[in-house]
Amino acid sequence: MSSEKLFSVFKEKAGVMSAQVHRVGTWAQAGELIAEQVKELKAQRVHLFPTPQLEKTNCRATLAKTGVTISEKLDRHELDVTDVGITFVPYAVAETGSIFHPETDPLGRVVTMLPPTHIAVVPFNKILPTVADALETVVKDFGAVPGYMSFISGPSRTADIERVLTIGVHGPSKLIVILVDEGV
């Protein structure tokens, strides 16, 4: 499947799962978009999980301009009250509209779990066709099975009371995916 085709399937399925999908040309543009989204959310605090890929977006600088408090501290109490968690996520899966997040670092994990919004920056050329492909690729790329891996598809949800779908239970109520065309 061509990458454009993979993208269109991903976008459709991610939409079904209620994720927001954006596509930008460069890492720098991703940084701009992150700041824009954070502003729109009227967030006061954001948490970053710093990785070399995320640094390429220069989002620290763009976010600083918006006036939000930026933290990188692994502290569950602080993370409990932050508004947005921002991470780099290395893969996406077209068939299910998921992002695929192999991550053992505790901060890298909790920023995707505790804040009410999760913004993920994902390389465009890493949209894989299927879940099976993702599992195969990750083992090849990492040389071993990462200790903690997650397929994340849209926001946290429940229908446990009267089968009424409600978004945002224990995890984020918003998932924003930014795909970046420029190679890693």
Binding site: P106, I161, T166
Partner: protein, 720 residues
């Protein structure tokens, strides 16, 4: 508890469930939405291929279980996990409680785990002085309510938002309105603190991968991720049937589970944990502890059983519950133990106690709707029957049913008794010739229920007349009438003769035929079944026919499959049975095979009809398309499909005498669906369904008519 007391309690729990409007409403809304949601979720996926792969892989995993467990243990251990094999529920409970005490754990958060419900882990931990909080919203509600889950995937589906608000208000000591989004937010805030403070997280697993030592949870709320991330100790309680080989199998389960469970494309989260990972404890990063408890608790006994090993193929998606007509009426709690529905009765039989499965297994109508959707391709109704057989072997089936089978084998005796009874009943039925359900006619089971009409002249008398004109020069068809056509609906038999004669056959009625043995089978009385089957095999060999035809799918299946199955240990008889079975056709299949054609150019019958798929007919004989085609193309009528045409009408053998209270609402649903089509005619291929549905239509004083396909075809050919 005495048996009678037990019976009464069971009946009372059914009545309670049926009266629970909240639950009935929720279950029926979900049941209505589920088939479409499932279909959409599976769009573009080859479901049959996927089911085949899952069923096959799971069966193979069962065969290699020891090896897989060894491999899993090695690989998980290599990555720093501690793996404990718990043979029994007690072992698992003890291990987890001791571990908590040893690690100085005070507070525990749990994410959803049916295995932990199965062994009542929470009670055990509480007794050990630990504070345990369920964190899955449904499970937390159930915990606050002091109840148990009523569905494997949606534990609190039986509760209303008002009830939930009541439990929340009490727990949170403030007045919580029944506003769902607000309650969800309250739960988030309340449980967030528990996550942050917990020392131990207990999760289940949807699968465990042997080749990598990975455990995985497939969830929506995000609580399992917090449970497996924040606390310093993680315990995963995993039933040994969850161990699979590799990531390829994992990908298949990820593909099927959410789609089958709730009709979702995928769940919000699929989380895979391999070995020990770091976490933050008091501001410091340290490796957390991971304990994986592999629990047997009856599972390996199930696997060793030559029949029940098929239940190993279950991935606990609960789609069998979602389509089950009985479950839809009564919900999960009447099934007694933790696991509900047909599969639940089977699991309870092995994981808990066979006696606990005794009553719930009776709730199964044997309709087979579950097997059609099951990703593990488990023949649930067959396993239920096997269970019934074993229970009957152990306990005996009682003297009265034994006596019935002596009667049903002797048609002359049965006749005269039926006639006496039908005449005798006249005063009770206001002059209408009605009689209790055949052939359970003498049984104590028939107390509560009436009553198909007994025809003044049984079909065998009519057959005698018609046979006179046979020449012996055309294709010979032996007609197997079965009890209902012979005694109650002889006109269906007449129609069968008309159509087959029109197609150039001569039809014979072998006089020694007896009841097909299906009722004995469903009651678990193999001995009587064998006697009846031999009698029928011998009868049907008469005249070395080209075909043997039946117009009752239950009889057809009995004559095609059961006769071989029950005689398999008797080589000579089995050979004969196979030869007979090879000639057996259901009426519509034979009509198609013989190429019954529309009589003239003009359409002979006009008007609309709707079609009801009888259970055996659709799911054993796979004939659903044939009658639709015959009725539209040959008879010339216009088909209007009803909603859930494949849903059981509630007849199912002795079901309507055992559970009239469940059978009745199932029938009402069917009648509503028929009425909604606006057609004045409903066609079926099963005299049992004719009996059930016509009874219902009569009661409603509906103008809708019900006809067997044979009758409609005969009429069309006559007119043409």
């Amino acid at each position: 508890m005495s048996n009678e007391q037990h019976n009464q309690d069971f009946k009372a729990s059914i009545q309670k469930a049926l009266n629970d409007q909240v639950m009935r409403g929720a279950l029926s809304r979900f049941a209505d939405a589920y088939p479409t949601a499932r279909k959409n979720a599976y769009q573009g996926v080859d479901i049959e291929a996927l089911r085949g792969e899952i069923a096959c892989a799971k069966a193979k995993n069962g065969e290699n279980l020891d090896q897989l467990i060894k491999l899993f243990t090695e690989n998980a251990t290599k990555r720093g996990a501690k793996v404990y094999y718990a043979k029994t529920a007690e072992d698992a409970n003890r291990y987890i409680a001791n571990l908590a005490i040893e690690k100085k754990v005070k507070k525990i958060v749990k994410s959803k785990s049916m295995a932990s419900e199965e062994i009542h882990l929470n009670d055990h931990l509480k007794k050990a002085g630990l504070i345990v909080n369920e964190t899955d919203l449904g499970e937390w509600i159930i915990q606050l309510a002091g109840q148990k889950p009523s569905h494997m995937v949606m534990p609190a589906i039986h509760l209303s938002k008002e009830q939930v608000a009541g439990y929340f208000s009490k727990e949170l000591k403030s007045d919580i309105p029944p506003d769902i989004p607000l309650m969800v937010q309250k739960a988030r805030v309340e449980l967030r603190t528990k996550f942050i403070e917990a020392d131990m997280g207990i999760s289940g697993a949807n699968f465990a991968v042997a080749e990598t030592g990975t455990i995985a949870t497939v969830t929506n709320e995000g609580n399992a991720r917090l449970t497996t991330t924040l606390p310093r100790v993680h315990v995963a309680l995993v039933g040994i049937e969850k161990v699979i080989k590799d990531f390829k199998e994992a990908a298949n389960i990820i593909k099927a589970l959410p789609k089958s469970a709730t009709g979702q494309l995928i769940t919000s989260y699929v989380t895979m944990v391999t070995g020990v990972t770091p976490t933050e404890v008091d501001g410091q990063v340290q490796d957390k502890e991971l304990h994986i408890v592999l629990m047997d608790n009856g599972r390996s006994d199930m696997l060793k059983d030559p029949k029940f090993k098929q239940a190993w193929q279950c991935i606990r998606c609960a789609s069998c519950l979602n389509v089950c007509p009985a479950y839809q009426m009564v919900g999960g709690h009447v099934y007694g133990h933790i696991y509900a529905g047909g599969i639940g009765a089977i699991l309870t039989f092995f994981f808990n106690d066979p006696t606990d499965a005794e009553k719930p297994q009776n709730l199964c109508l044997g309709c087979g709707r579950c097997t059609e959707v099951c990703p593990g391709k488990i023949p649930i109704p067959d396993l239920i029957l096997e269970m019934r057989r074993r229970m009957a072997d152990k306990k005996g089936i009682g003297l009265i049913p034994k006596a019935i089978f002596n009667v049903v084998a002797n048609r002359k005796l049965m006749h005269s008794l039926l006639r006496v009874a039908s005449v005798g009943q006249f005063p009770l039925t206001g002059g209408k010739p009605f009689i209790r359900h055949l052939p359970f006619f003498f049984s104590e089971l028939t107390k509560e229920r009436s009553l198909p009409a007994v025809a003044p002249k049984p079909f065998r008398d009519i057959a005698k007349e018609r046979e006179k004109k046979n020449t012996g020069k055309k294709k010979r068809v032996n007609f197997y009438a079965g009890c209902l056509i012979d005694f109650c609906y002889p006109h269906i038999g007449t129609a069968v003769y008309d159509v087959l004669e029109h197609a150039g056959c001569e039809v014979y009625f072998p006089w020694d035929q007896a009841c097909c043995g299906a009722p004995s089978k469903y009651m678990g009385d193999t001995e009587s079944q064998i006697r009846l089957v031999k009698q029928n095999v011998a009868a049907m060999e008469e005249g070395n026919p080209d075909y043997i035809v039946s117009a009752c799918p239950t009889c057809t299946v009995a004559m095609m499959e059961d006769i071989i199955e029950v005689l398999k240990d008797d080589p000579a008889w089995c050979e004969r049975a196979k030869k007979v079975a090879a000639k057996v056709r259901d009426f519509s299949a034979l009509a198609e095979e013989l190429g019954v054609k529309a009589p003239g150019k003009k359409k002979s019958l006009k008007g609309k009809f709707t079609y009801h798929d009888s259970c055996h007919y659709r799911r054993h004989l796979h004939l659903s398309d044939v009658p639709r085609k015959l009725l539209s193309e040959v008879a010339g009528m216009e088909l209007v499909e009803m909603k859930d045409s494949d849903q059981c009408c509630g007849m199912a053998g002795s079901y309507l005498v055992k559970f009239p209270e469940i059978s009745a609402p199932i029938l009402q649903k069917k009648l509503d669906n028929i009425a909604a089509t606006g057609s004045e005619l409903v066609c079926v291929d099963c005299p049992g369904c004719v009996m059930q549905i016509s009874g219902g239509l009569d009661k409603r004083r509906s103008s809708v008519k019900i006809r067997h396909t044979a009758e409609v075809l005969a009429e069309a050919l006559r007119k043409g």
